[in-house]
């Protein structure tokens, strides 16, 4: 973990967190549910490959 603020957040959370049941958790699915479950959030992108932002477009 490289980010110090992230480490602080994780430490704060661990106090409250209880063990999850079952073999595994599908984090990707949980995130998808959370993002979709929010308000009508516009799709976000987290990086751009070029100045024309074609990574926001259909082909990329």
């Amino acid at each position: 973990m490289k980010n110090k603020n992230l480490k602080k957040l994780l430490n704060k959370m661990q106090v409250d967190e209880t063990q999850s049941s079952g073999d595994f958790e599908n984090l990707s699915k949980n995130l998808l549910d959370k993002v979709k479950g929010g308000k009508e959030a516009p799709k976000q992108t987290n990086y751009a490959s070029c100045n024309a932002s074609s990574c926001n477009s259909v082909a990329c």
Binding site: N3, Q19, S20, K39, Q44, A48, S57, A59
Partner: protein, 451 residues
């Protein structure tokens, strides 16, 4: 069948106090699983027989475990090659002008007062029609790019209805998007873009709050631009009918070491105006545009700062995922029919080379000012051997051994050709992204910060 642990996995450190849980991220499917450390150990020892059936099924489904004899790099590259050549959506970029009001100090373009002529507009329309008649596409996305495209609004207005009509005639869904500096993006222009020109998003750029933005995105006459652009943004997003036809505004913040302190204040400003659900926001590290702008930022510093910005965005109530999707088609340049037409009729298959003096005629793939068929075939265009190049270590492309290749794709073939590795921040902060995603999925970041 015998299996092996995929090369394309990333495993985080423990994420709980008891040190029993870790996140395994399979980049081939961009799937993150929270697993017990004992399971991780079994995986690392390839002791798959001791996994439960449900666990094994999940790991196979997300391609964390793959057939033992599979050459994964070849599999990925060949699939991407096949997909790139058979896309059912077409990208088409029109650089309607070489003019721009701004003089951004990291821009590589050379601007002149040149808009597309009427005769070239006719040829652009004919070229578009020819491409759509040669191959069946389900949808087409026209990108309005410049310079500043809104400085050639009349050109866009002439082209748009014709391009729409051509797409309609071949039963192809038409959409467009605009990349603008935002200075001329008045509310009524937005309305026309969204309602008449089928714009699905409009991207503008704010490089921090006023004190940061105006230092680097001023006009060529050294006039400030932040207040005008921000006022335009508010006028649009505060319309009662926003987003017209679901056309959102995307705010990009180009960052280097000179303005990185301006990102958090900008996020706060956007949230003070309650834009969390109204806009997309993202930061992009400034990189070389045929110049040395990439030297203004240390990539590893950017990747650490970016996690702070994600935390700030979550804290402010922006709702999005920081885990990428898979990226099997790295760029429009590797697709068979992608073209950009510049204001003189020169054709390119990359948005970064036109108007940039650094890039010479070897990047031009045609010129349709007199003859709409005067364009090189796919095989003779730059970058089109990308998926062969990344399979050979001798080419000096790190992607050959990179674990995030499936979600990155190699990012920018042109940059590799320039000798500048374009590796994205996620290469350096994926573990932090996974841990932040885990926290975000379990709790509310705002409440956690306020504890």
């Amino acid at each position: 069948m015998k299996y092996k642990l995929s090369y394309y996995i990333i495993i985080t450190e423990s994420i709980d106090q008891e040190e029993t849980k870790q996140i395994l991220y399979a980049t081939r499917t961009s799937t993150a699983l929270v697993l017990h450390k004992d399971v991780i150990q079994l995986l690392l020892k390839s002791d798959f027989d001791r996994l439960s059936v449900s666990m094994l099924q999940e790991l196979l489904a997300c391609e964390a475990i793959v057939p033992e004899d599979e050459n994964e790099l070849e599999e990925l590259a060949e699939k991407s090659k096949l997909l790139s050549s058979n896309l059912d959506s077409l990208q088409f970029t029109v650089q309607t002008t070489a003019n721009c009001q701004l003089g951004c100090n990291y821009c590589g373009q050379q601007h002149v007062k040149k808009n597309m002529s009427d005769s070239l507009i006719d040829n652009v329309i004919k070229r578009f029609e020819l491409i759509l008649s040669n191959r069946k596409y389900k949808q087409v996305d026209v990108s309005w790019f410049g310079g500043e495209p809104l400085m050639s609004w009349s050109v866009m207005k002439k082209l748009s209805p014709k391009l729409k009509e051509i797409a309609k005639n071949v039963n192809c869904k038409y959409m467009s998007h605009l990349v603008s500096n935002g200075l001329s993006l008045k509310s009524e222009i937005y309305e026309e873009l969204a309602s008449e020109m089928d714009c699905t998003f409009i991207e503008i750029t704010l490089d921090g709050t006023k004190e940061f933005h105006d230092q680097r995105r001023d006009t060529k006459l050294k006039e400030s631009t932040f207040d005008i652009i921000f006022s335009n943004l508010l006028s649009i997003v505060n319309r009662k009918d926003y987003p017209i036809n679901n056309c959102y505004i995307s705010v990009r913040c180009n960052v280097d070491d000179r303005n990185k302190e301006g990102v958090v204040p900008l996020i706060k400003l956007l949230s003070e105006h309650k834009l969390q659900d109204k806009i997309r926001f993202y930061t992009a590290r400034v990189y070389s545009w045929g110049n040395e702008a990439h030297l203004l930022t240390a990539n590893e510093n950017y990747s650490v700062d970016e996690i702070d910005w994600f935390i700030e965005l979550y804290n402010a109530g922006f709702n999005f995922s920081i885990l990428p999707g898979t990226n099997p088609v790295v760029c429009s340049a590797v697709t068979p029919d992608y073209e950009l037409i510049d204001p003189w009729g020169k054709v390119y298959n990359c948005t970064e080379t036109p108007l940039v003096p650094f890039y010479g005629s070897e990047y031009v793939i045609g010129n349709i000012s007199n003859d709409i068929t005067n364009v090189k075939p796919f095989e003779q265009r730059p970058y089109t051997d990308w998926y062969d190049r990344i399979q050979d270590k001798k080419n000096g492309i790190y992607c050959t051994t990179c674990k995030i290749l499936p979600v990155c794709g190699g990012r920018c073939p042109k940059s590799w050709m320039d000798g500048i590795p374009p590796c994205p921040s996620m290469k350096f902060n994926m573990e932090d992204r996974l841990i932040l995603s885990y926290i975000h999925s379990k709790t509310t970041i705002k409440e956690l910060i306020e504890k």
